[in-house]
C-alpha cells in the first residue's frame, strides 16, 4: 500500500498528467531535431572528409574529437550561462539542440567515415571504371554501403544521445525530467518521477523496436 501510495498516487497522477504529456512533446521534438541534424551533418562531414583536403580534414577531426571527449553537460552550461556575457543569449531549447546535435554529428561523422574506409577499393574502382565521377561514386556506391555498415553503432549512439535531452532539466527546458522533478518537489510525492520513467519508456521503447527493424531492413550479406 505504502509502495503504491508513493509511486502511483492517483491524485498526483491526475494533477500532473497534462504537464507530463506536454513535456513528452518537448522531449520528442528535441530528440527528432537532434537526430535529423546530427545524422545529416555527420554524413555530410564524412563525405567532405572523403574529398581528402588536408586542412579541412584537420578541422573535422578536431571537431569530432572535442565533441566526443567533452561531457555534454559542460558544453550546455558554457553555452547557456557563459555566452550571454559575450552578448549571445540562446534559449535553453536551442542550447540543448545545438549541443546534442553537435555531439551526435561528431559520432555520426566518425561512424560514417569508418564505414567509408571499410568500403573495399574494388567498389570505388568499379564505380570509376564505369564512368561515374568521384562524387557520384561516393554518393551512389560508397556512402550507401557505409551507412548500412554504420547503422548498428549509429542506432546505439542515437538512443544514447537523445536520452541526454534529460540534461535540459539543468537549464530549465520543460522536458520530461525537468517537469517531473519540479512536480516532485511541489507535491512531495515520488509519483511524478514514476510518470517520467513511464513517459520515457513510451517514447524510447518504440524507438528501440524501430531500430531493430531498421537494422534488419538495411542489413545484407556482402
Amino acid at each position: 500500500m505504502r509502495f503504491l501510495e508513493t509511486f502511483f498516487n492517483p491524485a498526483v497522477i491526475g494533477q500532473y498528467l497534462p504537464d507530463i504529456i506536454a513535456a513528452m512533446w518537448v522531449t520528442i521534438y528535441l530528440a527528432v531535431a537532434t537526430v535529423l541534424t546530427g545524422v545529416l551533418l555527420g554524413a555530410g562531414l564524412a563525405c567532405i572528409r572523403a574529398a581528402n583536403l588536408k586542412s579541412v580534414n584537420f578541422c573535422i577531426i578536431v571537431f569530432a574529437d572535442v565533441m566526443r571527449a567533452l561531457p555534454p553537460l559542460v558544453l550546455i552550461l558554457i553555452l547557456y550561462f557563459g555566452m550571454p556575457s559575450v552578448g549571445l543569449s540562446l534559449s535553453a531549447e536551442v542550447v540543448i539542440w545545438l549541443v546534442l546535435s553537435s555531439v551526435l554529428t561528431a559520432f555520426a561523422e566518425e561512424i560514417f567515415w569508418g564505414g567509408l574506409t571499410a568500403v573495399p577499393a574494388g567498389q570505388w574502382e568499379a564505380g570509376r571504371a564505369t564512368g561515374h565521377s568521384k562524387f557520384q561514386t561516393l554518393i551512389y556506391i560508397a556512402l550507401p554501403q557505409a551507412v548500412r555498415m554504420g547503422i548498428p553503432p549509429l542506432v546505439n549512439r542515437i538512443l544514447a544521445t537523445t536520452k541526454l535531452t534529460a540534461l535540459g532539466s539543468v537549464i530549465g527546458v520543460k522536458e520530461i525530467l525537468s517537469v517531473a522533478s519540479s512536480a516532485q518537489s511541489f507535491s512531495g510525492s515520488a509519483t511524478p518521477l514514476t510518470m517520467a520513467a513511464i513517459a520515457y519508456m513510451i517514447i524510447f521503447i518504440p524507438a528501440v523496436i524501430a531500430s531493430h527493424w531498421v537494422e534488419r531492413r538495411f542489413s545484407y550479406k556482402m
Binding site: 574502382e125 568499379a126 570509376r128 571504371a129 565521377s133 557520384q136 556506391i141
Partner: protein, 252 residues
C-alpha cells in the same frame, strides 16, 4: 583482320611506382573486333597495363589511343567520359552489394551515360538476357554464384556500349565448374564484334577464341603471335619456361 583499324593502341608505355619500374616499354595494338589474350607470370605488369588503359593508373610516360583518341593526355575532368568507352571486368567482380542485379546494370547508364531510367532498364534487361541471367534481375549479388556475378559484371560494362572491353583475370576467382559460363559469354561478345583485351590463364580458351596471344614478362611484351604459334612454337626461353609451368599446373 589487318584491314581493320586499331581500336586500342599502346605506344612506349612506361609505369613506375616510386622506384619500381613495372611497365618498361609496352607496345601493343588491338584492332577493331579483335580478341587479344595477355599471358605472363604474376607480377609481370598485366593488370597495371590494363589499368593504364582506362587511367585507373596514371602512366608514367607513353601514349594510349582508344578509337583514335589519345587518352593519355586528356584532362582529369574528361576522364569520366573517356571511361565510358572502355569497359573493365575485374577478377573480383565488384558488384554493388546494396543494389539488385538490375540496378547494378542500370546505375552507370543513368548516372554516367545519362540514359533515361526506362531506357536503362530495358537495356539492362536485354543485357541480363544475353548473359542468361534475366531471371536474376531482382536478386542481390550475394545471392548469385561467382560465375553469375561475373556475368552480371560483364553485362554492367557492356551496357555502356564501350569501344573496348578489358578483362583482368575474369575467371581466376571462380570454381572450375563456373568458368565455362563466363567464357561462353565472352565468346558471345567476340562474335558480336566486341574488341577485347583479356588477361587470363585459360589457355584452352585462348587457343579457341584469341586472334593473338601476347606474352608479357618483367614489364615488356616478350613475344606475340597467333595462339598456335605462341603455344605451339614458343621462341623465347622465358615463354617456354612459363608455358611448361602453367601447363603443369593446368593439368593438375
Amino acid at each position: 583482320m589487318s584491314q581493320h583499324r586499331a581500336m586500342l593502341e599502346i605506344h612506349a608505355l612506361e609505369k613506375r611506382f616510386g622506384q619500381t619500374e613495372v611497365l618498361k616499354n609496352i607496345d601493343l595494338k588491338v584492332r577493331e573486333g579483335e580478341l587479344v589474350f595477355v599471358i605472363g607470370p604474376s607480377g609481370s605488369g598485366k593488370s597495371t597495363m590494363l589499368r593504364c588503359c582506362n587511367r585507373l593508373e596514371e602512366p608514367t610516360s607513353g601514349a594510349i589511343m582508344i578509337d583514335g583518341a589519345r587518352i593519355t593526355d586528356i584532362p582529369r575532368r574528361d576522364l569520366d567520359k573517356m571511361r565510358l568507352k572502355v569497359g573493365m571486368v575485374f577478377q573480383g567482380f565488384h558488384l554493388y552489394p546494396h543494389m539488385t542485379v538490375l540496378k547494378n546494370v542500370m546505375l552507370a547508364q543513368v548516372k554516367a551515360l545519362g540514359r533515361s531510367k526506362a531506357e536503362a532498364e530495358a537495356r539492362a534487361l536485354d543485357m541480363l538476357d544475353q548473359v542468361g541471367l534475366k531471371h536474376k534481375a531482382d536478386a542481390r549479388p550475394s545471392e548469385l554464384s561467382g560465375g553469375q556475378q561475373q556475368r552480371v559484371a560483364i553485362a554492367r560494362a557492356v551496357a555502356l556500349d564501350p569501344k573496348v572491353m578489358l578483362f583482368d583475370e575474369p575467371t581466376s576467382a571462380l570454381d572450375p565448374e563456373l568458368v565455362g559460363s563466363v567464357l561462353n559469354v565472352m565468346k558471345d561478345l567476340r562474335q558480336k564484334g566486341m574488341t577485347m583485351l583479356v588477361v587470363s590463364h585459360e589457355m584452352a580458351f585462348a587457343r579457341e577464341a584469341a586472334d593473338r596471344v601476347v606474352f608479357m614478362d618483367g614489364g615488356y611484351v616478350v613475344e606475340q603471335g597467333p595462339p598456335e604459334e605462341v603455344f605451339g612454337n614458343p621462341k623465347s626461353e622465358r615463354l617456354k619456361a612459363f608455358l611448361s609451368r602453367v601447363s603443369g599446373t593446368a593439368a593438375a
